[in-house]
């Protein structure tokens, strides 16, 4: 840690930037997934459970097969399965998607802890990083810019989703299901099927986000792995007004906020750093208060969403 001390307060800035890049990825993947699901007219509050189950499945698969990429795939598939479960239950008449989400939140975490017990001790192969800091001789800078390819995949995905929702067939149909189920039915689209696919896709991305946690950063599996990223990502979707590109900016902001605590600790501030650890949660609250309005409905919110009605 002496290298960080050498950089002085610049070390804090560097750590926050590195944190923004590193910690933002699961926020980004989960919030993109939730944007997809909510655009189809359903809320899946269970993504925290999906994230934790994805982290466990990804780690276990990487440990058992030796391939972190297979692990990531397993994380996504387990997430899609959770999405499918949510969708199938919500397709039944008179089922509330929020309640189902909360149930699956608890179910996912419980299942992950139950199945994940044997994987707490061992080490599994990790996902590789892109060494973007190799131009520097400074080890702190080098490690700060070891960026996961998933970060760039996330950015590409955000751009693709933003474009795709406006310019492709599936984008229009997805938004129609989310804005007017009647219109979708009138032209013969199955709203249930659209929402099932959208919830599965959202679950897949959240599972991959969990795989990032266990296979890249922090890069292990234990029961305290997620600090509520899956839940905060849902709040982040509202803050980003259901726009994938704004989800990316918001994820960077949340990632940076999460890095404040560890960063100030490395420069030797030992008092009150727990307060800094609370930064992302405080930020969530502050942003939701800031973006709320007593007079205006949430702009950009899909009309069929249970929270819009």
């Amino acid at each position: 840690m002496s290298s960080t001390l050498d950089l002085g307060w610049w070390g804090v800035v560097l750590a926050i930037i590195a944190g923004a890049i590193r910690v933002s990825t699961p926020y980004l993947l989960v919030s993109l997934g939730e944007t997809l699901t909510e655009k189809s007219g359903r809320v899946n509050l269970g993504l925290e459970g999906t994230l934790v189950l994805g982290a466990m499945s990804g780690f276990a698969m990487s440990y058992l097969t030796g391939s972190p990429w297979l692990g990531l795939l397993a994380a996504g598939v387990s997430g899609a399965a959770m999405g499918l479960l949510h969708a199938l239950i919500c397709n039944l008449p008179r089922v509330n998607d929020i309640a189902v989400g909360i149930a699956l939140f608890i179910f996912g975490i419980g299942l992950a802890f139950y199945l994940g017990k044997p994987f707490i001790e061992p080490r599994a192969p990790m996902l590789p990083a892109l060494p973007l800091g190799s131009w520097s001789h400074h080890p702190a800078i080098r490690s700060a810019f070891d960026v996961s390819p998933l970060f760039f995949i996330g950015i590409a995905l955000a751009l693709a989703l933003e474009w795709g929702m406006k310019n492709t067939r599936w984008g229009l149909i997805l938004r129609m299901a989310g804005d007017s189920a009647d219109a979708a039915r009138a032209i013969g689209r199955s709203v249930e099927r659209i929402r099932t696919y959208a919830t599965m896709a959202g679950g897949f991305l959240s599972g991959v986000g969990g795989g990032f946690l266990s296979l890249f950063y922090p890069g292990n599996w234990n029961e305290g792995l997620s600090s509520g990223q899956g839940l905060m990502a849902v709040a982040l979707v509202i803050f980003a007004r259901w726009s994938p590109v704004r989800c990316f900016y918001a994820s960077l902001l949340f990632g940076g906020a999460s890095a404040i605590g560890p960063a100030v600790q490395t420069v030797g501030i030992t008092e009150g750093y727990y307060l800094f650890y609370a930064a992302p949660y405080a930020l969530t609250l502050a942003l939701l208060i800031y973006s709320s309005s007593p007079t205006q409905a949430l702009a950009g919110a899909p009309n069929e969403l249970s929270i819009s009605r």
Binding site: M176, A183, A186, N303
Partner: protein, 185 residues
């Protein structure tokens, strides 16, 4: 130019919703080029009849003849392919979407990737022949009950008042199928 519009006949349509027999062996013939009105009090089954014809519901029993040929209409697309369209009692538009997006969604075959420049041009050309002007980019929050304009048979489910419970089934002579799909480049 399409040939003359089809003659549509409904034979012995029945439809039951739970305990309610909405339709009980209903037969109607819509002659081409005529305007027909279905009159009845609320709950008489006017909407159900038209919705079964359009493939929104599936009738429990009965047949549909289009130009005296039996046709199966299990899906709104089937109705669309036969030149049957409907303006629903409650707007089936997506108010949060633009005029152009709503028009495009009404098509049975959507291209995987949309060419919005061409769609907007086609829509403007279409509207030049219509007694209204709308910016295709504007969001639909107003009355545009024309999503299936130019169909050979257009069923209007209470488009005027949306109160009195009148269903007009209109078999209009559409000499041309107007719509953004024809003009699309």
């Amino acid at each position: 130019m399409t040939p003359s519009p089809p003659e549509v006949e409904i034979v012995d349509f029945s439809k039951r919703f739970g305990a309610v027999q909405a339709l009980d062996a209903v037969s109607v013939r819509f002659t081409a080029g005529r305007m027909h009105a279905l009159l009845g009090e609320n709950g008489a089954g006017k909407s159900t009849l038209v919705k079964c014809l359009m493939g929104y519901y599936e009738a429990d029993a009965g047949r549909i003849l289009v130009d005296r040929q039996a046709r199966a209409i299990a899906h709104p697309y089937d109705a669309h392919a036969l030149g049957l369209g409907m303006v629903y009692q409650h707007f089936t538009l997506v108010p949060q979407m633009s005029v152009a997006e709503n028009f495009v969604l009404g098509r049975e075959r959507l291209p995987a990737v949309l060419d919005w420049a061409a769609e907007h041009t086609a829509l403007r050309k279409f509207m030049a022949r219509m007694p209204f002007r709308l910016d295709p980019r504007r969001l639909v929050r107003e009355i545009v009950p024309l999503e299936s304009a130019g169909e050979a048979l257009m069923a209007m489910d209470d488009p005027i008042a949306r109160a009195g419970g009148i269903v007009v089934a209109l078999n209009e002579y559409a000499g041309q199928r107007v719509g953004p799909d024809d003009d699309a480049v």
